[in-house]
């Protein structure tokens, strides 16, 4: 879970962008990375583990400044959405504090969204995390495709497919234009950082001088 470095007085919070392949996770992170100032963002990096499978992800640390004397650093990750990369997805989910699920609003992607959300639930369960207890937001991405005449799922359909059980905040978005990207990030960041702060409250207060 979140990492507390008392010597550096830093709290690291890990948020994973999850969802079906080609749903717009990387585009979300690219947009965030480009739109943030250098003062608060880190470099996007990719890592090759040299193991049997390659672990290769976007990693975007954001510093949100000091709270009670601690630097809160938000780390955004994304995972390969393609089905064959489940091992990598599980690995990236380890230690996750919050999840932004990026769904593809195209009608043709309805099943893939559902499969991916089920995959998230199962992978979280495998690492001992209950999806109902972790901060989660949904983003219904690619809304801009409606203007091109591509049939999209209605918001009601998407909520029914993906959010009827979890009932978490959800946002319409177009990562391509940036619409909804920051709303999603803001919501998942708030809920995740608050959740981490509640867990770490004893350590944070004892670390205060």
């Amino acid at each position: 879970m979140s990492f507390l470095d008392l010597s550096k007085r830093e709290v690291h919070v890990k948020i994973v962008y999850y969802g079906p392949g080609r749903g717009g996770k990387t585009t979300n992170l690219l947009h965030i990375h480009e739109a943030m100032t250098d003062a608060v963002r880190g470099q996007m990096v990719s890592i090759d583990t040299k193991q049997d499978r390659t672990l290769f992800f976007d990693f975007l640390p954001l510093s949100i400044g000091k709270i009670f004397g601690f630097d809160i650093r938000i780390q955004l990750f994304t995972v390969p959405g393609q089905v064959i990369y489940n091992a990598t997805r599980k690995l990236v989910l380890k230690g996750v504090d919050g999840v932004a699920f990026i769904a593809d609003s195209q009608v043709s992607q309805k099943e893939k969204n559902i499969e991916s959300l089920e995959n998230l639930r199962d992978n979280l369960a495998d690492i001992g995390v209950d999806i109902n207890k972790i901060p989660l937001v949904l983003q219904f991405n690619k809304q801009d495709l409606a203007a091109e005449g591509i049939p999209l799922l209605s918001e009601a359909d998407m909520v029914s497919d993906l959010n009827s059980v979890y009932n978490v905040p959800c946002f319409n978005a177009s990562a391509l234009t940036g619409e909804g990207v920051f709303e999603t990030l803001r919501e998942i960041s708030k809920t995740t950082v608050k959740s981490v702060a509640r867990k770490l409250m004893p350590s944070l207060t004892s670390g205060m001088t």
């Binding site: 585009t27 480009e34 739109a35 702060a197």
Partner: protein, 264 residues
């Protein structure tokens, strides 16, 4: 600290968090031009993949007769003092493979295939490297046809090939593994990949039938009802795929025999 203090502390922290995040996540004038271009590139690649969805299932292991000849007449041995010549030669290939591992799309497959062609042209006197390049090129063809539906072993095979190439491009040394043993290992993995591809293919066909797509026998015995275009074409696709399988198996047997002959 008592529970009342805890409550106050949490409330304070939460309001500070809200404020800090509200202050932070206000995009400064939206996306930059560079970002728009990058995002457009990502979307364009996705669109290209969508356009190629129709051939997604046309898995083919065709032979490699159309290998493009690239003239690399200059010396390739020169490397900097930091790394071995083989590592320098393989770096672009390694980068292309990483990109492909991240996202299997046509651009990444083509980039990797181009690297293999380049390497093939640079190593014409190296029998082991030529064998590796040849097998990897066939694997690229398979990936091009099946893309995200490809067997995970395909990427494992390409990674193993890369590691083997690193050895093949170095002069023999006692601390290096036997080159023949590496070729045998690649052959074994290649065969496993082939079997896995066939297994995945059979499962995909089964799934497609379960979803209600007409099988070839059903299609021939029933008049075609008013169906969406995708379903109409799927029958044709299935027939095409069956033909591909037949051709593919023949090509594979021939290729494996050729490779075995060249090793022996």
């Amino acid at each position: 600290m008592n529970s009342g203090d805890d409550k106050t502390g949490i409330d304070n922290i939460e309001s500070m968090i809200d404020q800090a995040i509200d202050d932070l996540f206000v995009p400064s004038g939206g996306a930059t031009k560079a970002n728009s271009e990058k995002a457009l590139k990502v979307e364009a690649e996705a669109a290209q993949e969508e356009a190629d969805e129709a051939i997604d299932m046309n898995i083919t292991w065709g032979n490699d007769d159309e290998e493009e000849a690239v003239d690399f007449s200059e010396e390739v041995e020169a490397g900097d003092s930091e790394g071995t010549p083989s590592m320098d030669m393989l770096r672009p290939l390694h980068e292309a493979l990483l990109s492909l591992d991240w996202e299997i799309n046509l651009n990444n497959i083509n980039a990797l295939d181009d690297e293999y062609k380049r390497l093939g042209a640079m190593t014409q006197d190296n029998m082991h490297a030529q064998n590796a390049v040849k097998m990897a090129s066939v694997c690229c063809k398979y990936l091009r046809a099946s893309k995200s539906l490809a067997s995970p072993l395909a990427l494992k095979f390409l990674k193993t090939t890369l590691d083997s190439l690193d050895v093949f491009l170095q002069p023999p040394a006692p601390n290096l593994p036997s080159k023949d043993a590496l070729v045998n290992e690649m052959m074994g993995l290649y065969n496993e990949m082939k079997q896995d591809a066939n297994r995945l293919r059979a499962a995909a066909l089964k799934k497609r039938e379960a979803k209600g797509f007409a099988s070839p026998s059903q299609a021939s015995s029933q008049p075609a009802p008013q169906q969406p275009t995708q379903e109409k074409t799927s029958t044709v696709d299935l027939r095409g795929e069956l033909n591909h399988i037949k051709r593919t198996l023949g090509d594979l047997i021939e290729l494996v025999a050729k490779l075995e002959r060249s090793i022996n």
